[in-house]
């Protein structure tokens, strides 16, 4: 039982990081119906900004997060501007292939020696690791920070999406971008904003991931990106609470498989759950069905 509780905590740790990435996927998909494959690599850039800010800059932790958040948001805005916006009216597959191209570019360009380099780099711990015994379960301050940062990001996001004018515009564009445009919403600006917002969360996620699993590499974003995207689909793509729920389920499924079966089956189980959910409820757990017009 204690082992189970401990694994639940560990599952929450990775689940919260997935949640931060999944939110970016779900928001972008909600607004432009694009699986943004480059998102996982933006997350990787966030981790590297964190690495440089801690290792070279010796900046305090809040500044490290701010740097990663701003850096990733800027990067995503540039990507959207250069690669995705010219294809706004092109077939969907052209945009998807472009997203994959951008993803490869980010991975391989940053792995050049002149940029981040091709090796694994150890991520410095910005603080001493403290662990607390609560009952029979051990909780570290790393986990506490992950929970705190993710929860504050979620509260901030909830505020932006449901309480600000920009959020209202986002929801309007997501609902019907043509109608939103006719109502005077600057659709392009909203899309740019959505990309930036999603990337900001991924940036924070990158730093947290680096702190929790202290090894970074320019290809590290791909698999967490894929899983976070899956989590977004699992929860119902386009739904913000769904993305968080999906990510938490994904984190648990993965951790429990490693704990009780074998870590080699980890990825398989997570995707098996995804397929089962898709068959049972194609729109995901919290997604609303969308009727196709004939």
């Amino acid at each position: 039982m204690d082992y189970f509780l401990q694994q639940t905590i560990n599952g929450l740790q990775i689940g919260f990081v997935y949640a931060l990435i999944a939110l970016g996927y779900t928001m972008v998909y909600g607004v432009v119906r694009l699986i943004n494959f480059a998102h996982g690599d933006v997350f990787m850039v966030g981790a590297f900004i964190g690495l440089y800010a801690i290792d070279r800059g010796r900046l305090p932790l809040p500044v490290v997060f701010a740097a990663a958040i701003v850096g990733c948001a800027l990067l995503a805005v540039v990507i959207e501007r250069v690669a995705y916006r010219p294809l706004r009216d092109a077939p969907k597959i052209a945009v998807l292939i472009t997203a994959i191209g951008v993803s490869f570019f980010l991975e391989y360009f940053t792995s050049l020696n002149q940029v981040f380099g091709p090796n694994y780099y150890s991520f410095p711990r910005p603080f001493e690791v403290v662990s607390w015994e609560i009952g029979e379960v051990t909780v570290t301050n790393i986990q506490a920070i992950i929970f705190a940062v993710t929860l504050s990001c979620l509260v901030a996001l909830q505020y932006v999406v449901y309480r600000t004018k920009a959020g209202k515009a986002m929801r309007a564009v997501s609902h019907d971008h043509v109608a939103a445009g006719l109502m005077g919403v600057n659709v392009n600006l909203v899309i740019t904003f959505t990309f930036g917002l999603g990337a900001a969360l991924a940036g924070a996620g990158g730093v947290l991931y680096g702190i929790a699993y202290p090894q970074v590499n320019t290809f590290m974003g791909f698999v967490p990106g894929l899983k976070a995207f899956t989590a977004a689909v699992l929860g119902g793509i386009g739904s913000i609470p769904g993305a968080v729920l999906g990510a938490l389920i994904m984190g648990q499924a993965e951790t429990m498989t490693s704990a009780y079966l074998s870590s080699t089956y980890r990825d398989g189980i997570a995707f098996l759950i995804l397929i089962l959910v898709l068959l049972w409820r194609p729109t995901g757990i919290m997604g609303s069905p969308r009727a196709d017009k004939v």
Binding site: R33, V95, I97, T98, T264, L278, L279
Partner: protein
């Protein structure tokens, strides 16, 4: 001339043929039927492991056995595709893509752990001891045969039904096409080509590793099909050869210290292609012998 015919380039040419067969399969699935599949490499892998296992266990180095093994690889991929297709063909566009992606990841896990149930498959260490059977005539022969089969298929009434489903599923159903069955058939046939290509690939490099069949490899094939132009056989063939030769050619064009730059150059070319020609390089133009007889 000698430089053109050295074994290295012949092997690259054979690899391009294998890629083209696999891409022709995905072209049926995505290009003609409009089923978004992100798991093509899984079926490629099923074909590769099946053919390699059969050849290693029973085939020796007989050419007839090799033909049978490759065809068995195709059949195995088709059988799995039909099983997977039964539940998933109900899913639409992106969701089908995600489900096939998920299947691809699961198959990668299966290949990684395959030595647990069949030690010959090697699991994560890779499969060795495969005989090198894929020669230029085999590769070229399978490519020509596949091209002919695909050409005849897409210009048959079945092919027309698949295209109709791609254009508008509801309308196709209204016209009396059994949408579900046709989708399943298109998916199964397309995956059979992936399986055949896998069987050829296994006997080309005589070594298989699960990483040869991961998500990136599915994406490679998808890129070939999209760059060539969806539902365009000439484009798929051109893109498959262009892709393989570009990757290899850059080893020579780029200075030795900068070979890794090719993975920076290729995405840039890819994004540029999509920005300039979102409908694919060839769009709808087909080579004369691949055109249909009747209405275009």
């Amino acid at each position: 001339m000698d430089a053109l015919l050295n074994p290295y380039w012949i092997q690259i040419f054979e690899l391009a043929c294998v890629f083209a067969v696999s891409a022709l399969g995905l072209n049926i699935i995505y290009g003609y039927t409009g089923l978004f599949s992100l798991g093509h490499a899984a079926f490629y892998g099923i074909g590769a492991y099946t053919a390699a296992f059969l050849m290693k266990s029973y085939g020796g180095d007989s050419q007839a056995a090799f033909l049978a093994a490759v065809l068995c690889g195709g059949a195995a991929a088709a059988a799995v595709a039909a099983l997977i297709g039964l539940p998933t063909m109900r899913l639409t566009s992106d969701y089908l893509g995600i489900a096939t992606l998920g299947f691809g990841v699961i198959m990668k896990v299966v290949f990684d752990n395959a030595d647990a149930f069949l030690p010959e498959l090697g699991g994560a260490r890779g499969m060795t001891g495969i005989s090198r059977m894929t020669s230029l005539p085999w590769a070229l022969g399978f490519l020509v045969l596949s091209t002919l089969v695909v050409r005849n298929l897409v210009h048959s009434s079945y092919g027309r039904a698949l295209t109709a489903i791609r254009e508008d599923e509801t309308a196709a159903g209204t016209m009396g096409i059994d949408v579900f069955r046709c989708k399943l058939a298109g998916f199964t046939v397309g995956c059979a080509f992936a399986g055949i290509a896998g069987g050829l690939y296994a006997h080309l490099y005589a070594f298989l590793h699960p990483s040869n069949f991961d998500f990136i490899k599915s994406v490679d094939v998808l890129m070939i099909v999209v760059i060539g132009g969806l539902g365009n056989m000439s484009g798929t063939l051109a893109a498959a050869f262009g892709w393989v030769f570009l990757l290899e050619g850059m080893r020579f064009l780029l200075p030795p210290d900068y070979v890794e730059l090719r993975w920076v150059v290729i995405p840039v070319l890819l994004v540029a292609t999509m920005l300039l020609r979102p409908q694919g390089l060839l769009g709808r133009r087909e080579l004369p012998f691949l055109r249909g007889g009747g209405l275009q």
